[in-house]
Subunit: 293 residues, 4 copies
């Protein structure tokens, strides 16, 4: 069993920290929100009074909203690396820009801290059920050391490369997911506007080369315009920002990704930020003047 400091006890981090307790680890958690700390205590963990206190552990996990928060909490003047003892294993599970993850890894190395990035997919439900997919970037030895801890959080845990690789894979995942929603949305709008019942049509698509997890899981709810999250447009908008930034850094040109990012930005701008990302359908139908209720 491991002494774990867990920083960031939000929608994702809260249930993840609780799952670590359940798995028998000692978890000292920190969050600026007192209510969230209380929930960890209720789940059997301990609340840290400060970030420094949560850092006094063998493994520190961070689960934060975006790159600026990681820069502050991990790299900042009162941050994790400032307080870390040499030998600490730091696992940043936030979804952030690959270059920020590489900066964390580089700075950690100068202080004798072993750093991994381990962004996840699977959403709140995956966090609660401990069935997340975890994409790990960093050194192989550190990945092996982290495995016993990560196995309490996810089902598919893959070491995809060195620092930044985990974030790049997550970015690739999100661009494919976002783009697939756009394509399915365009298919539905074309079918409906042509007077074809989309149900039968999408059944055919789902069964052939056009088939996808999204068609399998979401075609019924999309046709019924049920957009309860799930994974919110706001979060996917953030992730598309990471994907386009990663493309820019890698000096590649990704036209479909860039266009998808603008459509998701439109979804947010049109007020659908709190809906499921499948609500991208509303952007395509509004574009075509076919606004549903």
């Amino acid at each position: 069993m491991t002494n774990i400091g867990f920083i960031g006890l939000g929608i994702m981090g809260g249930p993840m920290a609780a799952n670590l307790v359940t798995a028998g680890h000692t978890v000292v958690g920190y969050d600026i929100d007192a209510g969230r700390r209380d929930r960890l205590v209720a789940a059997g963990g301990t609340a840290a009074g400060s970030l420094a206190e949560a850092t006094d552990a063998d493994v520190v996990i961070t689960m934060l909203p975006d790159s600026p928060q990681v820069e502050e909490v991990v790299l900042g003047p009162d941050g994790v690396l400032e307080h870390a003892k040499p030998g600490l294993l730091l696992i940043d599970m936030s979804t952030i820009r690959p270059d920020t993850s590489r900066a964390v890894a580089a700075e950690a190395a100068t202080r004798g801290v072993r750093a991994l990035e381990a962004p996840v997919s699977g959403g709140e439900k995956g966090a609660i059920d401990a069935v997340l997919s975890i994409m790990v970037g960093g050194a192989e030895a550190d990945f092996q050391a982290a495995l016993p801890v990560l196995e309490a959080l996810g089902k598919t845990i893959v070491h995809v490369g060195g620092p930044g690789a985990g974030q790049t894979v997550k970015a690739a995942n999100q661009l494919v997911v976002g783009g697939t929603y756009a394509l399915v949305a365009e298919a539905i709008v074309l079918l409906e506007a042509s007077g074809v019942d989309p149900r039968g049509g999408l059944d055919v698509l789902a069964g052939g080369l056009a088939g996808s997890r999204i068609l399998e899981l979401k075609r019924a709810s999309m046709v019924e315009r049920q957009f309860a999250p799930g994974f919110r447009i706001d979060l996917h908008h953030k992730d598309m920002g990471i994907a386009t930034a990663a493309a820019r850094e890698a000096e590649v040109s990704l036209p479909v990704t860039a266009l998808t990012a603008q459509l998701i930005a439109a979804a947010r701008a049109q007020g659908y930020g709190a809906l499921d990302h499948s609500a991208l359908l509303k952007v395509i139908e509004n574009l075509s003047g076919r606004t549903s209720a």
Copy 2:
């Protein structure tokens, strides 16, 4: 058992006609190419000396390259409808524009001919193995009448709506397939340009919400740049022309489809027309200056 006239004995039509013979139907086939007619004879069918002769049947199936050929062979002055007896069941299995299918259905109705459109997916292999997916548009009674014939050709046979609906579903299928290839291509280029081995990354994508039939079947060959067809870029280019024409007719705006169509047009213009449609990857890597051998 049914007397079937089969017009168009090419890469798809040839094996389909042979499968109808195997299933016990009487097949009289026509094609302007004599070698193709001979192949049907070798398979146990009969060669018609003219289009009119092939039309003298209970069911006529047409399998032609594109809308202009259907307009000539079906609607033209020496075409199927000109020679057809009232009561004929005409099944056009070509992939063409929905409005052409609707024109065929309308003209057939004035002559007492029952018309269905029944475009397929599954490619040459699906035609040979008689496991095509068949998307049927037309009247329910005609669909029921056609089923015993179609069951000799495909595995998934769905009646998706009235005239034009089958072509619209096929168009929707092809836009999703083309767009998914573009997305997977962009993911691969991003991973590779970021120094990440795409194999492990794509394994993760394939297992989660980004998963698709294309990732399942084609990710290994795409990473290895194996682009033997399969379904050729040239044919997908034709199909994207149908999809964008269908969108225009339905008065909808499909930006991702339109962009994908241009990328597939680029694949053809760059000389990849005879490769598998997964060769869309080459367009994205050329765009990013990462030309592979």
Copy 3:
């Protein structure tokens, strides 16, 4: 002075035929709409009782909505070429697909008819004021023969190449115009959403490398959301269909053109078809959830 048959007396053709009368030509006009024929008579022309009658002239000008009308009126069984005497000079001033213009030229050649295509830009106002820009495709000798007639209709008259070239230049013109509207619209939406008065900002743009005729003529009306036509979205939508068809025929990939075409399709689908093409601004602001009154 020339005996001219003029077929198609609509918004553009009506004032053009009247200008030919004013210039001293003998004009026999035909249109299926009797009111339009009466207007030509009021202007000093003669109304033909049939298309054949209008074809009995030294020069026949056609000004029709789109390719299908040209195919019927010029190439059809009761069309201009059927009735034309050898030596006739046919000037099709319709904006249609380059391949249709090439088909007209080829068919005309077999009948000893000299054919030019001469699409125009400048809109209804340019037609009334006889200041159209005219892009002529065809043989040089025929262009020289047509010049005295065309000079009564336009100010800039350019021979841009052989059959189809005039339509291709017109298509290129329309894709640049449509795309420029999209760019100016995006600039305005960015400025306004950023809290910047677009007037001062657009003044700067208009004065530098971003400057364009559109910024010069339309920036004030766009900022004020004055979208009285001008040139209607419906017509620009038709023209973008020609531009994308021309790109397809020329086997090139034009991603910005294709995206612009979808945005103009969206303008039409959203109900702005009768507004000026500068109303593309409404599509961009709707996309960004910034709907103006």
Copy 4:
């Protein structure tokens, strides 16, 4: 006459500082490159031994490559604001993200420093000839105070709004310029691939509603594939990054801008970064498999 500290003496800043000397101002310049400082001395200015020394002035002008450099040089621990006396007028003429300019303005206000942003267009030639267009964001009184200084650098000097407005207008300018190059490139490729001499065609476009400064100045060089800068692709790529970031911050969806940004990224990735931005033409012709020498 004014005591001016000038920080950043590169391709733009060097000639600008020299023009201030010529206009009679006292200029103390700083750059990390000694050769650049020497050039200012040769032009009649003084070289500062440190950034702090250059800050000891009535007006400080900064001309730096991008947002990170402004963050370090202006906001950093040894930066301009740290050394500034209250009442200093700081004019940042760098092209950076609007939010960085707003951050500079906010931080300056807390220290009693008056801050303007004043990005320019017109390139190296405009800097040398003192004919830059200058887009100023900030308070009106500060703009008035800065005018006598700015008049030594540019011809068109416009106060477009409060903090950030100057950068937003510059971003809008660059997205329109980049997009117009893409459109002209697509027009040229369509004309050439259709067998039409682009010269005559572009002359027509330049004279009508499609006309633009870019068509006026660059159509001949583009057709001849003369891409000597001018303004480099690398710099336009940076500016498109600012434009898309500004769009994201303003919560708008700009699809044509985003697509243009990817095409310019492609130009850079394909090795054209040091060419003039009109070399976007090479991306479009490569996409269409029409690679020129």
